[in-house]
Subunit: 369 residues, 2 copies
């Protein structure tokens, strides 16, 4: 089944990915909220159709180019969840003519820029920082929120739809209880910001949340109108470490040829480096750094469970160095394949640009050659 793989290859377990999609779609339906999944993880028109089969009609992307790609593949309701890039205003206008386009706003300057330059209608979401601290309007700065909301309403082509947050600090959590607490705090803070704006005469406004750790962990999506998780479609070792999924829920692994074995140093060298896996790293419990978990190929499921005592311990541009157990060293040979479960699947598949399903089918991503 894997015998014709010659180079580092993203293997996709379609059954696991579809189960991950179905589970999140069902939770959204049950909660009565709009499911607007983030497509920056998979970046693939074909995988997009798996979401459509679950009733998804509205999507999230992280760049104008990604919006163009999915618009060209029939998506008609697209949110670009990234602060508006003024330098792409022409492409934004073209998209706004073609689809129902939603933009993220967090400053009066950008609201004024859009008011002057937009030539077609867009929906506007205020980006609210509810504690992550990356970017956005502070949830408790009512004056700032109102100033931006007023600047939006002054623009002819802009319609203020709601408030949006990404609780990225959930990636530092390590338990379900912690994640549920972050979710509750995020909902409380963004709802407070909504209330302040509505009391000032704006709205009615919706709220949109969406990080995979919280969305995977809460029982239901109480208190929000829309959820936007993305990574959950594949999951990865970071989500496993957070406790947001089980290792059986990881849907991609990179098949890497073994090119050298050094039993005396307990090391295996694979063809699979920073340009295939990315340099995203995870600190393990023993405080060593991991660039991926290691598993054996499996004819029916693609790969087995991660091998205890084995990890991708360092990466060069094309080399991966696996710290290997005696057990693995005893059975692996040069020319074999080993499977690497990525630390951060979004970055890994972005590098590989193409998936191969367990059935051997090729699924291209945006930008694939």
């Amino acid at each position: 089944m894997l015998s014709d793989i010659t180079r580092p290859t993203a293997l996709l377990n379609e059954e696991t990915a579809c189960r991950n999609i179905a589970r999140m779609a069902e939770k959204a339906r049950r909660s009565g909220v709009r499911f607007r999944p983030h497509f920056k993880t998979h970046q693939s028109a074909i995988i997009g159709e798996w979401f459509r089969a679950e009733g998804v009609a509205a999507i999230t992307v992280s760049s104008v180019s990604m919006a163009q790609y999915f618009a060209a593949h029939g998506w008609r309701d697209i949110l670009i969840a990234f602060p508006v890039n003024w330098r792409e205003i022409e492409a934004i206008n073209a998209l706004a003519e073609a689809v129902s386009l939603h933009l993220l706003l967090e400053s009066v300057e950008t609201a004024r820029f859009l008011a002057a330059r937009l030539t077609a209608p867009v929906g506007i979401w205020l980006k609210v920082d509810t504690g992550y601290g990356r970017t956005g309007l502070r949830w408790d700065d009512a004056a700032d929120l109102q100033a931006v909301a007023a600047a939006v309403e002054a623009g002819q082509q802009m319609r203020l739809l709601g408030l949006l947050s990404h609780a990225g600090h959930s990636y530092h959590a390590r338990s379900t209880a912690e994640l549920q607490a972050i979710y509750a705090e995020t909902v409380e803070r963004i709802s407070g910001a909504r209330r302040a704006l509505e009391q000032a005469g704006f709205g009615p406004l919706q709220v949109s949340l969406g990080d995979t750790p919280c969305c995977s962990t809460v029982e239901g999506f109480a208190g929000v109108d829309e959820v936007r998780p993305g990574n959950f479609v594949f999951n990865d070792m970071m989500q496993v470490q957070i406790g947001a999924c089980r290792v059986e829920d990881v849907a991609v692994a990179v098949a890497c040829p073994v090119v050298a074995v050094h039993p005396e140093d307990r090391k295996i060298v694979i063809y699979g480096g920073a340009v295939h896996l990315s340099k995203e790293q995870l600190a393990l419990d023993d405080r060593t750094i991991s660039y991926g978990a290691v598993a054996l190929p499996d004819a029916s499921r693609g790969w087995g469970v991660p091998l205890p005592g084995c990890t991708v311990a360092s990466l060069s541009q094309e080399h991966g160095i696996i710290r290997a157990s005696d057990d693995l060293l005893a059975q692996v040979r040069i020319g074999d394949l080993l499977m690497v479960l990525p630390v951060h699947s979004c970055l890994t598949v972005d590098l590989l640009k193409t998936y191969r399903t367990l059935a051997g089918e090729r699924i291209p991503m945006m930008g694939a050659g």
Copy 2:
């Protein structure tokens, strides 16, 4: 000059790159050694021609696909500086028919595999570990070296040409004296391995070295037959930190649109994230992590000197967060461009796939769309 840049773009200062190439080529000529530059850094047929103009005829690459790309662009003497990947034997044979192909070997198993499967002649270099500890035959294990050399000589299509080392531990050095000491030790160790093999009846054998920190720092290439540095063509903030180049010798920077400014948090948000810069990180002197240095655009030189007190402090998939000085905050506006000097240029340009020269010319890399 940069006004039409809308998205993260690798800007290439052609003059600096050509000066870097000329300097290394001249040092090799002066030392009387073969200059076989590593093309994994630039991965571009057009930039390859800049090397050819300096008299370069033999090159190094890090994968079979890269060898295919440069063979298709007229290169006839190619070393694949990566342990032989058995699973690509068909492509290796096709290359060996077409060009003078050199392979790296570090095990009896691979020598026997090649003896059984090669259909055209190749040159063989033994990969020797002289202290880096990534992979290769230990420099002081004469029995192992001889066993592999004997297995090579038993193969009809293989000709044993020499010993090759990559002193990657030079990347931990922080002074010229340290780098010169690593170079001297590497030459001493690999020469000892050569002597042991020649005394056992193999050879005559050549030696090949080639990491940018050592090659940029030594006065001349004493004691070797060939050098293979690659990164020096562009350099980066890692080489600056090591002391292997000056900041004026960095030939690439990524132009990134500013999308948000938060003076109260001393933060600037740019469109330029992990999928543009890579997550290669550098620990600064104050022990904070940097994903790149920050400079202002400059009409004639592309960018100015890195701004003190400013750094790319964190990265998401598409966002970069700059920790900014008051000075920068006072002059930057949403919609401006900031220039990021990469931590590790090889990984950054591999992500961007296309260069733009200061004259606005587009230079594609292998795999560019």
